[in-house]
Amino acid sequence: MALTGALAFDGVAFSYGNVAALSDVSFEVAAGERVALLGRNGAGKSTVVRLVTGLVRPDEGTVWIGDWDTAGRAPEQLAWRVGSLFQHADQQLFARTLREDVSFGPRALGFPAREVQRRTDEALDALGLHASAAQHPYDLSPALRKLAALAGALALEPALLVLDEPTAGLDRAGRARVAEAVREHAGRGAALLVVTHDLAFAAETLQRGIVLDRGRLACDEPLDRLLTSAERLKPLGLVPPPVAALSVALDLPGRPVRERDAAHTLARVAGGRSAS
């Protein structure tokens, strides 16, 4: 299998005991690509995250992180290439200050102090956490702790960033901070895989959608096509997010799925209509 991608699943199957969680899943994510992993609860999304981070090994097939086969590597080794954010990440913080916690990853990987500082500062910057950097994590709200956990993953400067429900529990401002931080990171060449139920966030921030259904790959296509197709989403338990639904309902040219694009298109079409 070609090892050009940042992440590749090659015929992966995995079961918990005798319950099949994934069957014959294959896909590739290239550097700089931003991919949404979608599907109902129980479709296998979290299993994909556990396979990518090396916490479990596939029963069949191979998971490639760059040219590394996860079967031969422990999670702490894969941390050199994979930065991850799990659900309930706000419970994993332990250091005395936010800054210390964010710097934990680079320190654990053995970088020199100057490098650790640089990475920590940049990660805190990306998520706007400088103001809270000296505080004790548990003095902060769960939302801020979650952002801090994401900063911890960013500080690893991984080639592949894997996030499990990064916007759950965040208000609009928080979601915007996450969106900006991950876009910037992908802009520097990292690959992005985000498990999410928040289709609006996916529409704004990500490009491609992989949908799992009962452990199998049901769809793998650009989000702007997928999210405007209610007939395809429905059997998978999904519904077009508001912007996409509006685009379709008003038959906007280009069927934009992102807010800014839709606003421009709306203005243009409305202007055209009032002129005619």
């Binding site: 422990a74 702490e76 991850s84 332990f94 934990f104 654990a108 990987l109 911890g152 690893l156």
Partner: protein, 235 residues
Amino acid sequence: MSALHPFSLLAIAAALPAFAWILPAPGGALATALVALGLTLTPGAGPGSTAGWSTPGRRPGFVTFRTALVSAAPFWLFLLLLHDVPTMVRMGLRITTMVASFVWLVAALSPDRLVEAMVARRWSLAMAYLFAATLSAVPILRARARRIVEAQRCRGLSPRGSVANRLRALRALALPLVLSALHEVDERTLALETRGLGTGVRRTPLAAPLDRTAERAGRWALLLLCLAALIWRLA
């Protein structure tokens, strides 16, 4: 074992250490230690205990047995450092009995059956909950510990390697566990209030465990036996 009434389980877990200390060592203590360890090998406990034992292919009994041995081991080590061999054996066996009895109790006793038993006997729900909460905290904390270990490993923490490394690893694992557990105590108190605890109303027993006359008699017999042994020893 799972069919026994919760109070019987408590009685046995209390009687064994009592006998260990009352009966003359090392014979008496050895006997009780062996009985306690033997109990840890008995299959299965209440319906919920299997939730904690996630390793497939291993009988639950072995895990309990191993836990008992591993928990008792440090005491033997300290005793060896502090005392001569006969004292070490005497006290070590007694402590092993206590540890093994407790470990067995945690594995065998279902919090829900205990609460039901206490409620059926009209004991205060708050006290019942205190027992139950201690026992049920174990699987919850174990699950969370596992999640924290995974999250830290994915940040590059290696639990292997030098002593300094392992100590650092321990801090990164233990601290979040303790902090989040403590942080949750307040939330938990609040949360349990939402489920109707603390209203002062007497709880309805849903499925009170069967308390056979033979078991009741057995518990009284154990108590009398303990007292008899104590009197015999003091005389």
